[in-house]
Assembly symmetry: D2
Homo-oligomer: 341 residues x 4
Amino acid sequence: MFFASDNSGPVPQAVLDVLAEANQGYTMGYGADPLMDEVRQRIRDLFEAPEAAVYLAATGTAANALALATLVEPFDTVFCTPMAHIEEDECNAPEFYTGGAKLTLVEGSDRMTPEALTRAIESQGNRGVHGPRRGAVSITQVTEMGNVYTLNDLKALCDVAKSYDLPVHLDGARFANAVVALGCTPAEMTWKLGVDVAVFGGTKNGLMGVEAVVFFDPAKAWEFELRRKRGGHLFSKHRYLSAQMAAYLRDDMWRDLAQRANAKAARLHAGMKDHPDVTIVNDVTANMIFFDAPAALHARLKEHGAVYHVSGSDTPRGRFVCDWSMPDEEIDRFVSLLNNG
Amino acid sequence: MFFASDNSGPVPQAVLDVLAEANQGYTMGYGADPLMDEVRQRIRDLFEAPEAAVYLAATGTAANALALATLVEPFDTVFCTPMAHIEEDECNAPEFYTGGAKLTLVEGSDRMTPEALTRAIESQGNRGVHGPRRGAVSITQVTEMGNVYTLNDLKALCDVAKSYDLPVHLDGARFANAVVALGCTPAEMTWKLGVDVAVFGGTKNGLMGVEAVVFFDPAKAWEFELRRKRGGHLFSKHRYLSAQMAAYLRDDMWRDLAQRANAKAARLHAGMKDHPDVTIVNDVTANMIFFDAPAALHARLKEHGAVYHVSGSDTPRGRFVCDWSMPDEEIDRFVSLLNNG
Amino acid sequence: MFFASDNSGPVPQAVLDVLAEANQGYTMGYGADPLMDEVRQRIRDLFEAPEAAVYLAATGTAANALALATLVEPFDTVFCTPMAHIEEDECNAPEFYTGGAKLTLVEGSDRMTPEALTRAIESQGNRGVHGPRRGAVSITQVTEMGNVYTLNDLKALCDVAKSYDLPVHLDGARFANAVVALGCTPAEMTWKLGVDVAVFGGTKNGLMGVEAVVFFDPAKAWEFELRRKRGGHLFSKHRYLSAQMAAYLRDDMWRDLAQRANAKAARLHAGMKDHPDVTIVNDVTANMIFFDAPAALHARLKEHGAVYHVSGSDTPRGRFVCDWSMPDEEIDRFVSLLNNG
Amino acid sequence: MFFASDNSGPVPQAVLDVLAEANQGYTMGYGADPLMDEVRQRIRDLFEAPEAAVYLAATGTAANALALATLVEPFDTVFCTPMAHIEEDECNAPEFYTGGAKLTLVEGSDRMTPEALTRAIESQGNRGVHGPRRGAVSITQVTEMGNVYTLNDLKALCDVAKSYDLPVHLDGARFANAVVALGCTPAEMTWKLGVDVAVFGGTKNGLMGVEAVVFFDPAKAWEFELRRKRGGHLFSKHRYLSAQMAAYLRDDMWRDLAQRANAKAARLHAGMKDHPDVTIVNDVTANMIFFDAPAALHARLKEHGAVYHVSGSDTPRGRFVCDWSMPDEEIDRFVSLLNNG
C-alpha cells in the first residue's frame, strides 16, 4: 500500500526496451541523436506546434528553472502560488537560475485566481527601480494539491498575464494527468490559451527522469540551449534521454499511463469518500487525493502498512499520489482496511 | 571507424541489466534507494575512504561545477590549465555554480607544472581586496590532451596547493583510464596525494550518464547536497543513477572498461606511430591519441570513413578517443587505410 | 511643506566642514585614511563593542545586502516582514548579493511578532534539501511604517532567532531615530539583545550617503571586505565617506539630528491627531506619521502645497517623514491648513 | 613626494562649492534632482550625443561592472587584456554583475592589438553550447600601464569588435587624461569609432567619487537603471553625486584637471628620462610613468621620501601616477633627488 509519491514506482518495460534500442553502436551526442529528432517531431505534432523549440532535461527542477531563467531577468519577479513547487520544493533553484529574480507569492493557497493574480501583479512593478520588474507568471497544472484548473480557469489566468504583457510558464510535472482529467488536447491546455513555455513532465508519469521543455515561440531557443549547458543539464549521451521520451510518445504511452494513474486515484477515492472520519479536500480528477482525518485513524492505517505523507497536527492531512503501476489489489486492500478497521 | 569521442558508444549490457534489476516495485527517491547504499559502500571501499561523502550527478559539468562551488567562495579564483574542461567546455558553468568565482589560467597548455602553478598562485591573492582570493586548484586526470600525470606529478601539484592551504579538485572524467594507465589504486591517485574532492567519471567510460563526486572530508557534504538540489541535479528516481554506478562498481567493471579502452588506443597507436606523415603529440597511455598530419592525409582518411575531430589549419591536429566498445576490426581497418593509402 | 522623505533634505553644515577638513593633501585610500580610524574607534565606543568590525557603505541597499550576503548562503532563506525594505524597495538586491537566497515573508505586515516569526521559521528548513535552509532573521528598526519596537519586542524576536541558531540582521536606516525614541543606548538596542550585524544609518538622518555596517563578531570581517569590493562598494577616496560619518559621530550629531527629526514629527502629530477626518495609524514616537484621510482632504492639502506620498484608494493613506531640517513654521503652516481648511 | 596614485589627492575647492550649492533645501532624490538634469545635458553636449543615456555611479568598479552586465549575458565572455582593471583589480565584480560571464584574456599585456583581439574572439564562441558565447570587447583608455591608444588604434579594435557584432565598452577611468593627450574630442574617442558604452571617469581626475556611464544607444537605459538599483548603486540623495559631476563639467574642469595632471607627468618625465639607471617603459603622454630601475635606486628614493608602488624583483618597476594637485616643487625636489643622489 505505497501511496506516498509518483516518484517511487518503476517504469514500464517499454521504456527499457527503447533504451535497449537506443543502445546500438555509435551515435552523435548532445541532442544530435536520431531519437531526439523523433521526439522533436512527435512533440511538435502532439502540441500542434510545428515551430516549437523542444528540449529535454532530466529533472523537473531543472526544466522549470531553466525555462524561467529564459523568460525573466534577474531584476524581475515571477508570480506563483505559495504552494508552487518552484517556491516550496526546489531549494532556491529558480532564484539561482534566474540570477536572483524574486518569486512573488499570489495570495491564496493552491489555486491561483485571476483576481489574486491581478492584485499580485499590481503590487509589483509599480515602484520604478525600487521594486522588481514584473517578469512572468508560473502556473502549475495539476496543482500541488492535486487540483486541475479547467481550461477556462487557465484562460483567465493567461488573460491576466497577457494584459500585462507577461509570459506564462506552465509547470507540467503532471501535465498528462491534467490532459486526461480534462479530456482536452495538449494544445488546448497550452498555447491556445496563452502559455508560452510548457514543461511536459515524464518523470512522475512513468519515466526514469525526463521532462520536455516546449517553447511555442522559438525565439529564445538558443539562449535556452546555452543556459542548459551552463547549468550542467546537457547530456553528452543524450540518446538515453531521448529514448525515454520517445517511448513515452510512441503509441501515446504518456496518455495511457496518466489514464491508469488517474483511474487508480478514482478507485481509491470511491472507496474513501464516504468514510465518516475522512474529509477529501481536493477535487480528485487527476492522480492525487488529499484528505483530513483524525490522528488515530492515520496511525491505524500506517500501522497496517499504508505508506503516505501526513502533515499538520490538529486534524492531520494525508496525501495519496497514485502512479500507473499501483496494483488495484493494494487499493482494494486499503479501502477494506479503512472501512472495516 | 568512429574515433571522435568516448561519449558516442553504447553501454555494456550489464548496465541495462542492473537498470532492469532496479526497476522493481516501489523505492524511496532522492538517493535513499538501496542501490545507492551499495554504491556508497563500494566507493568508500574502492577509495579506502570509510568516511568519504559520495554523491552522484548525471553529467560531468554538474559534478565539477558543484564540487568547485562547494570548495570556493564567489570572490575566489580557481587555478586550472587553459585547456581544462571547466575553462573550455562548460559554457561558464563553474562561474555560474560558484556565484561568479574566476578561473585563473595556469601558464602552459595541457599539463600543469608545479612551477607554473606556483607562479599563478603567487600572481593572485596578493592584492588584498582588489583581486580575487585564492580558492582552489583543479587538476584534470587524464588531461584534455590525453596525457596522464604520474603520481609524482600529481603529488607535486598537490604539494603546491597545500603549501598555500588550497583544496584540490580532481576532474576525473577519465579517472578509470588514468588508474589503469598508472597501475595504481584510486586512493593512491587521490587523497593519499592530497586531493580533497574527486570526480569519479562513469559517463565517458561506458555509463549512460553518471559521475560520482567523492569528498574525502565529509565536512561539506550537506552543503553539497543543498547545492546539488538547488542546481536541479538531484534525481527523484535516483535508483536509475545508482543502478548504473552499481553496475560500474560490481566486478570492477569500471576497470575492465578502461582497460579495454586503453588497449584500443594502444592498438591504434601501434599502427600509426611509424607512419612518416603522422606525429603523435601526446603520451598514449590512456585512451586518447592526438596527432599532427598533413591536411591531405586527414582528407583521405575522412573520405574513407574515419570519423574524428580535426583542428588547426597548418598541420591539422587529429584527435582519436577510444571507448571500450570500439571493434578491433575497425582499428585494423583504419591502420590499414592509413598505411596503405 | 515638504514631508515626503528624509532623503530629500540638506545635510548640516558641519558635514561639509568635515569634508573640507578631509580634503587636505595626500591620503591613503580604500579605508586606510585617518578619519576612518576615528570612525572605527568612535563606533566601537558608542556601541561598547571594542572588537566590532566596522565598515562604511554609501547606500542602505548596499549595506543591507552585503551584510545579509555575509550571513547567509545562496541556498538559505532570510526571514523578514512583507513590508521590509529588503523585500519591497531594493529591486532584488538581497537576492543578488546573496547569490539567490530567498526571502521568506513573516506573516503580518509591518511589525514582526515572535509567534509569526516562529511559524515562518518552522515552515522552512524542515524539508531536507527540498526547501531552502534557514538563514537569518532581518529586523527593521524603525519599521517601514514608522513604528518602534521596544527593547522587549526586539529581545523576543532575537530570542526566537537564537533558539534556531540564526543570526540577526538589524536594518537600521533610522537607527538613531529609534534610539532616541526608546531612550536607550546603541548597545542596548543591538548586541545586548542578540543582534549580530547592525546597519547604523546615516543617510536618512542627515548625511549625504553613508551607512555603517557593524559586525559585533568580527569573524566574517574579511569576507565582508571582499564582498564589498566585489560589489563595487569600496571607495578609493574613502576619506569622503569617513568624513561624513566622523561628523555624524562627533558631539553626538547623530543623536541631535534624530532628536530634531522626532520632535518635528511629534509637533506635526500633535497638530493632526485631533482632526476628525484624520486617523493616525502608527505609533508616532520616531520621525514618521502614517494617517488615513478622505481623498478630498488629501487633495485639498496637496493643492495648498503639502508634498507627501499617498497610497491606496478607498481611504487613502498619507505618509509624512520628518528630517532634522524641517522648519517648524512649515509644520505650523500645515497644521493650520489642515485644521482651518 | 607622493606619486603612488591619483586616488590620494584632494578635490578642487570648486567641487566643494557646488556641493554647498546643492545643499540647499528640499530636493527630489534618486537622480531626479535639477543638477542631474544639468549633468545629463552637459554630457550629451560634450559627447555630441543628444540621445545618450547618462548615469552616475560612485565607483569605477560599479560603473564598469554595471555597464558590462547590461551588455552581455551570463553565458557570454568579455574580451579584455590580462592587465585590465576589470580582470586584475575588481575582485570578480564583472563576474558578479554579469551573473557569471567569463573574461577572456587577449594575448599580450597592456595594449590590445587588433590581431590578438581577433585571435581571442576566434578562439571563443565557435564551440556551440560548449564554450561561452562571444559577449563584448572591453578597452581601457588610458591603459593600466599609462599608455594611450591613438584614435586609429581604437578604431582598429572597434572595427574588429564590429566585424563580430560585439558591443564595445570603454573603461575610461582616465578618460580625460586620454582626451587631453590625444587632443581630440570625447565624441572622436568614443561613438565615432564604435564605442557603445563609455565610462567617463571623475574620481581619479579630481572628484570625490563619481563616474558617468554613457550609453550612446539608449535602448538598454532602463535595464541599466534596474541593475544599478539592484546593485545598491542608486543614491537616494543623488544630488551630491550630481553636484560633483556638474562641477567637473562646468568650465571644462575635467579638461583643466587632466591637463594639469598630464603636465605634471611630463615635468617628471623630463627630469627622469636621461638618468642612466632609469628606463621608462611606457609612452608618457598621459599622467602615468612606469620605469625600471635598480633596487638600490628605488631604495634610495624611498628612503628620502618618495612614495610610489614598486613591483618585481630583478630590476624592479616603479609606478608614478600624477594628479592635478601635485606640487611642482615636489616634482622638482624628486628630480633633484634622483639626479644628484
